[in-house]
Amino acid sequence: MFVTKAFAQEAAQEAVEAAHGAAEAAHGAEGAFPPFDASTYPSQLFWLALTFGFLFWFMSKIIVPRIGGILEMRQDRIAQDLDKAHELKSEADEAIAAYEQELADAKASANEIGNKARDAAKSAAEAERQKIEKKLGEQLAEAEKRIADIRDKAMADLGEIATETTQAVVSQLIGGSITKAEVTKALKASEGQEKSNG
C-alpha cells in the first residue's frame, strides 16, 4: 500500500514539477500531510541509513567498548579495594586478638603477683602478731607474778601490823605490857581457828 501510494504521489509530483517548475516542488506536494508525503521517503530513508549507520558503528566500535571498559575497570578496582580492605581487617582482627591475649596474660600475672604479695603480707602480719602476743603473754605473766609477790608481801606485813595493833590494843585495855611473842602466838592460834572454821 505504501509503495503504490508512494508511486502515485511521485507521479503526481512529477506532473506538478513539469507544470510549475522546480522551485515550487521544493515544498513537496502541497496539501499532503507532510509525514505521509511519500515523495520525501527515499531521501529520509537514505539519510536515516547513513546517520543511524554511522551512529551504530560509532557506538559499537568506540563508545560501548569505552564505557564498558570504564565500568569494568571501576568494578575491578572496587573488588580489589574490597579485597584489600578485607585483608587489612583480618590483620587488624589478628592484632586485636594478640593484644587481648597479652592483656589477659598481663592481668593474670598481675593477679598472681598481687595474690603472692597479699599472702606474704598476711603471713608476715600473722608472725608479727604471734610474736607480739607471746611477748604480751610473757609480760602479763611477769606482771601477775609481781602482783602476787606484792600481795604476799602485803599479807605478810599485814600479820606484823595486826600483831602491833593487837599489842597496843591489849596494853591499852588491860594495861601492863604484853610481849610481842605472846600476841603472835595468840594471833596464830586465832588464825588457825579461823582457818579450821572457814
Binding site: S43, L45, W47, L48, I63
Partner: protein
Amino acid sequence: MANDPIHQFHINKIIPIENVAGLDLSFTNVSLFMVVTVAAASLFLYITTANRGLVPGRLQSVSEMSYEFVASMLRDAAGTQGMRFFPFVFSLFMFVLVANLFGMFPYFFTVTSSIIVTFALSILVIGTVVVYGFMKHGLKFLGLFVPEGVPGLLVPLVVMIEVISFLSRPISLSVRLFANMLAGHITLKVFAGFVTSLSALGALGIGGALLPLLMTIALTGLEFLVAFLQAYVFAVLTCMYLNDALHPSH
C-alpha cells in the same frame, strides 16, 4: 502560515540531490536533524568519557547512567545472551531520545515525528529479530508462533493470532512513537497559537490568553516526559522482541 500547526512538519530541501538512480535523495531539514542528532549523541558520549575517570564527573555519570540504564533493560528482558545486541539497542535508544529532545527546541524538526523514520527503525528491529532468530534456531524459530500447552484443536487459531500479533509489531512500534511525537507537537503548537491569536484581540484577549499560555507551559513539561518515555518504551519493546529471537519457545 505561522499559526499552522502542521507547518513544523514540512520538509524543505537544503541541498537538492535529485534523481540519483531515479530517487530524490536531497539533503532536507529532516536529514539535517538526523545528522545533528547523531552528532550530538556521539560527541556527548565521546567527549564526556574521554577522561575515562575512575571517579566519574557529572557528565561522565550521565553517559554511564544511560549505558547502564539500557544495559540493565536489555539484561532484564533478554538475559546476558541479549548483551550481544547492546550496541544496537543503545544506538536506538540514544537516537530516539536525542531526536525527541531536539524536537523540543522551537523551530527544530522532530525526526521521530516522521512515520517513515520510525517505521524504518521498527523494521530494522523486527528484521534483526527474524534474521537472527532463523540464523540461530533455524526452523525452531517458528516455535515462537506455537505456544506450549495449547490443545491441538486450538493450535491453528492460536498460530494465526500469534502471526498477526507478530506482524503488527513493527506497525505498533513505529506508530506509537510517531503518533506520540506528532500529536504532542501539534497540541503544543495549537495552544501556543491560541496565545498569539488571543493576545491580538486587546486587553481582554491578553487576559484570556493566560489560560492557553499556562497550558502550553504544562504541555511542554509533559512533552519532555513523553520524549524520554517514548525512547524508553521503544528500547524496552526492542529488548523484548530481541528476547524472542534468543529464546523463541515461550
